[in-house]
């Protein structure tokens, strides 16, 4: 029995690797995607264009504008002469922010009155506008404090806040994205590979050939988990390596723990893939099934936005998604030096999902055989 199993596992491996097109796809696509998407997906703001309407000819408006120009997030300042012109630029999405300094700006500063800066944000780019507005507020606050010190209003200073970001002190957004991608891309590839492998054999007619052979349904299911696991382990490790050596993300936990969690994650994903393919007759249905299954899973996993932001009932649903648990474990292993004790609360739900889906798939496939 073990020997037969070994044979059909070898078969799965060979079929997976024979086709050069799918081989290229399996190796090339994850690398390319990791590189492109991890540099592309950032919620930080840089290279923003700003429209400036400066109606003040005084020294302080120049000081303020100079600081904005010097700010790292700004790419280009477009000087406009009228509010209409500014409206036009914002409407056409050519600038992210409009800055309006009124004629009495310098006068107010000199007089010690609060000088107002009007900031217009493009609500269509809600997140970027908010972040950029935060950067501008910092500029305003710094200038304000300097003015106070110059005027001797608060010579002694005031109590402040000591701010520290743990695990990722410089808040590199890429550390977050590239580690998350290692779970996300692995999941997509594994699911597609697994769910197609049964449908493909059905379409080609080789499934009957296997069914009349001495292989029993448990052996068939076990060997069908192999291609997915292989692809998953390969792609997962590849992206982890890219993260560590390409993007310099520190791997603070024991790598074996990360690997063990990856395996557990893959089992649950393969289980889902088999459950999907048990329902599907054709490859097209399997592919579309994967889509309908994965998109919601990605959206509620916390990859794009924090799980805490979602309504409670969706947070409950998110518990059913292995991706959510894996994302937490990956961040923990990479950045937070997690040990078994921290990993376990997120590992057992994956184990449970794997057990449920795999036994479900076995039952369905078995009933199909009979």
């Amino acid at each position: 029995m073990l020997y037969r199993l070994q044979m059909s596992v070898v078969k799965e491996i060979l079929s997976l690797l024979r086709d050069p097109a799918s081989r290229r796809l399996l190796i090339g696509a994850p690398i390319l995607q990791t590189l492109v998407f991890s540099t592309a997906a950032t919620l930080e703001v840089s290279n923003a264009d700003v429209a400036l309407l400066n109606q003040d000819a005084g020294r302080w408006s120049y000081e303020y504008v100079a600081r904005v120009i010097g700010a790292r997030f700004v790419d280009e300042i477009v000087i406009v002469q009228s509010m209409e012109e500014m409206t036009e630029l914002i409407d056409r999405r050519q600038v992210l922010i409009g800055l309006h300094l009124q004629a009495d700006f310098s006068r107010d500063v000199e007089a010690g009155r609060p000088a107002s800066v009007q900031v217009i944000l493009d609500g269509r780019r809600a997140n970027a506008a908010q972040v950029a507005s935060g950067y501008l507020a910092e500029i305003s606050a710094t200038l304000g404090v300097e003015l106070e010190q110059r005027d001797g209003v608060s010579a002694r200073g005031s109590p402040g806040v000591e701010l520290r970001h743990w695990f990722n002190p410089n808040l590199h957004f890429r550390w977050f994205i590239v580690t998350s991608l290692s779970a996300l891309l692995t999941m997509m590839l594994t699911l597609v590979t697994t769910s197609l492998s049964i449908a493909q054999e059905r379409e080609l007619g080789t499934f009957d050939q296997v069914l009349v052979s001495p292989l029993n349904s448990a052996e068939i299911i076990i060997s069908k988990t192999v291609p997915g696991l292989m692809v998953g382990v390969f792609v997962g490790l590849l992206i982890v390596l890219i993260a560590v050596y390409g993007f310099g993300v520190p791997l603070t936990s024991n790598p074996l723990l990360l690997f063990a969690s990856l395996l557990l994650f893959l089992f649950s994903v393969v289980g889902l893939g088999l459950a999907i393919s048990a329902f599907c007759q054709t490859q097209q249905q399997a592919i579309l099934g994967v889509f309908i299954g994965t998109i919601p899973m990605i959206l509620i996993s916390g990859f794009m936005t924090p799980v805490e932001n979602m309504p409670v009932w969706l947070q409950v649903a998110a518990e059913l998604s292995p991706l959510k648990h894996m994302l937490i474990i990956i961040q923990g292993c990479f950045l937070k030096s997690w040990g078994v004790a921290e990993i376990w609360p997120h590992a057992w739900p994956m184990l449970l999902i794997a057990l449920v889906t795999l036994s479900f798939a076995t039952v369905v496939v078995k009933s199909r055989l009979e």
């Binding site: 029995m1 070898v10 024979r18 069914l211 009349v212 052979s213 292989l215 029993n216």
Partner: protein, 575 residues
């Protein structure tokens, strides 16, 4: 008015490979031109060139003196083409398919309703207009495909293997239809692997290895064989064994089983002495018969294979005490309201070949699948070696060898890897496994293809491969589901050589086929129609039961058609 198509010095290459070499021929209107030849001889390429789907490398194709090719403006009015796998849309109904092709050909809508009526009547599909094409039987699909190709009343009708996988009754219908069309002046090219069809064509083009080796009336070719065909009768004992010995004789060019008798073709200068000696040694009788086109075809291609099956010779005799190896009792299967098989009972004895014959959709495959344990019977018992394969332990499946209708090998693995997989799954290991694989490679001459994907193999080799994979574990029962569909006659002979060799060693064979000459190889034939077993007897007895005054010596095909038609009124047999 009759058209004429001239083919002058036509060559076509694909990369390195030459598909057609310097072809010269004429195709005339009002006649049926058969296109025959082994697999890969260039038949489909010639069809595609004539249909204007590709252009020639050198030479010219002309229809009534006008150039024929992709750039001919009215090529689509001139030719109607029915590809091998005809492009019917399976999720469209019969009528929707017809309408689609009528519109594509720009037919006048006022005319179409009359045309549809004629075509539907002609094809016998009148009562199925609302059925999805995917739910039609193989024969009906081909008829619908023909109807679509006929839509524009082309001057040149090209049919690429229209009868593959089609049962004899539907094949006869198809043939009559095409014959009628040719009578109207249309030029019809019909490519086929069935040589009895080719024999009835007005003219044949015989291609071999990209070259035209014969062009003319089939009878002219057949005539060359005058006085070389014989039928050996009353052979007593085992006729298959006798055939093997006959094929060893240098003077014998070709030989096939025909019921209880053996049909032989002598070499050009072969004397009758050797063979009459062999006949007399078993107390048989030799009878001179008229040659067939098939005899000439095989002769032209260098004769049939010798009667040896290396694989059968190496095999140990099957040791099995029981006599009844396969049995079904009252086997029924319902799919919803539809009854696929209805109370079928038969048994197959050890060392017997049982042929399962019947029209498309009669329930052959369903019976087959229930016996293999792939389908659950609604009622009744299906047993192989006394076991129900659905519930029996994996080891019971070791008794079974299975060859599916479509050659089901893993295209994503090499030939070598396929052999390793199938031997391994059946529990072979170590030296035994290596030996068996090597044995298959040697027997089936697979050496040059070991690294290739089975998908890239010529059809004949695919079929050898599939047989090799089914035989490595030395099964005592062999299930063959249309194993030779679309395979050329030479390869089919070779295939049957192996089968007869295996049977001699005690292997039991259950086979389905649409080739009536293959049915002659069987010990008994079970005829299934509409889910019921309507006849079960030896080929000769079946033929005899169909004999009548008009047809004193019916062929197997005549017998088949007659037995099926006896069960239902002829107008309905399309169902």
């Amino acid at each position: 008015m009759t058209v004429s198509v001239s083919i002058e010095g036509v060559s076509k290459h694909f990369d390195e490979h030459c598909a057609l070499k310097e072809l010269d021929a004429n195709i005339r209107g009002g006649r049926l031109t058969g296109l025959v030849g082994p697999d890969g001889a260039g038949k489909t390429t010639l069809m595609r060139l004539l249909a204007g789907l590709m252009s020639v490398d050198t030479g010219s194709l002309k229809i009534d003196g006008r150039e024929l090719g992709p750039h001919t403006s009215d090529i689509h009015q001139l030719t109607g083409y029915m590809p091998q796998r005809f492009g019917l849309y399976e999720d469209l109904t019969v009528l929707e398919n017809l309408k689609l092709y009528a519109d594509l050909r720009g037919l006048d809508r006022r005319m179409t309703s009359g045309l549809f009526e004629r075509l539907l009547h002609f094809t016998g599909l009148g009562s199925f207009t609302d059925r999805l094409a995917g739910n039609l039987s193989g024969g009906m699909k081909q008829k619908l495909g023909l109807a679509c190709a006929l839509m524009a009343r082309p001057q040149l009708l090209l049919l690429d293997e229209p009868s593959v996988g089609v049962d004899p009754v539907s094949r006869q219908d198809l043939w009559d239809m095409v014959q009628e069309l040719a009578g109207e002046g249309m030029a019809v090219v019909w490519s086929t692997a069935y040589l009895d069809e080719a024999e009835r064509c007005d003219e044949v083009l015989l291609l071999e290895e990209s070259e035209l080796v014969y062009c003319g009336a089939p009878a002219d070719l057949t005539r060359r064989l005058q006085g070389r065909s014989y039928l050996a009768k009353n052979l007593g004992g085992d006729r298959r064994l006798w055939l093997t010995r006959a094929l060893e004789l240098p003077s014998v060019r070709d030989g096939v089983i025909q019921g209880a008798a053996v049909r032989l073709v002598l070499g050009r200068d072969g004397s009758l002495d050797e063979i009459s000696g062999l006949v007399e040694s078993v107390g048989g009788r030799l009878e001179a018969v008229a040659p067939r086109f098939e005899d000439a075809f095989i002769d032209l291609l260098g004769g049939g294979p010798d009667g040896h099956s290396a694989i059968a010779e190496k095999m140990e005799p099957v040791e099995q005490a029981r006599d009844i190896m396969v049995e079904c009792r009252d086997l029924s299967k319902h799919f919803g309201d539809f009854t696929a098989t209805d109370g079928i009972s038969f048994s197959v004895h050890k060392g017997e070949i049982l042929g399962l014959l019947g029209p498309n959709g009669a329930g052959k495959s369903t019976t087959f699948k229930m016996l293999c344990g792939l389908l659950k019977p609604s009622s009744g018992v299906a047993e192989v070696v006394g076991l129900d394969l659905r519930h029996s332990p994996s080891t019971a499946k070791l008794q079974l060898g299975y060859m599916a209708q479509k050659f089901s090998l893993y295209g994503l693995m090499s030939v070598q890897q396929n052999l390793e997989f199938f031997s391994g799954v059946y529990g072979l290991r170590g030296k035994l496994r290596r030996d068996r694989i090597q044995e298959m490679i040697d027997t089936f001459e697979l050496q040059p293809y070991l690294a290739e994907s089975p998908e890239n193999l010529p059809l004949g080799f695919k079929q050898r491969m599939a047989l090799a994979c089914a035989l490595m574990h030395r099964p005592s029962v062999l299930f063959l589901d249309e194993p030779t569909s679309g395979v050329d006659p030479v390869t089919r002979r070779e295939f049957w050589t192996h089968i007869t060799g295996l049977v001699a060693k005690g292997v039991t064979v259950l086979v389905t086929t649409h080739f009536m000459d293959e049915a002659e190889y069987c010990d008994r034939v079970a005829l299934v129609n509409r889910g019921q077993l309507i006849a079960l007897d030896s080929p000769d007895a079946l033929k005899a039961s169909a004999a009548c005054a008009a047809l004193p010596d019916p062929t197997m095909e005549d017998a088949f058609i007659r037995l099926i038609e006896a069960q239902e009124p002829p107008s309905e047999h399309a169902a």
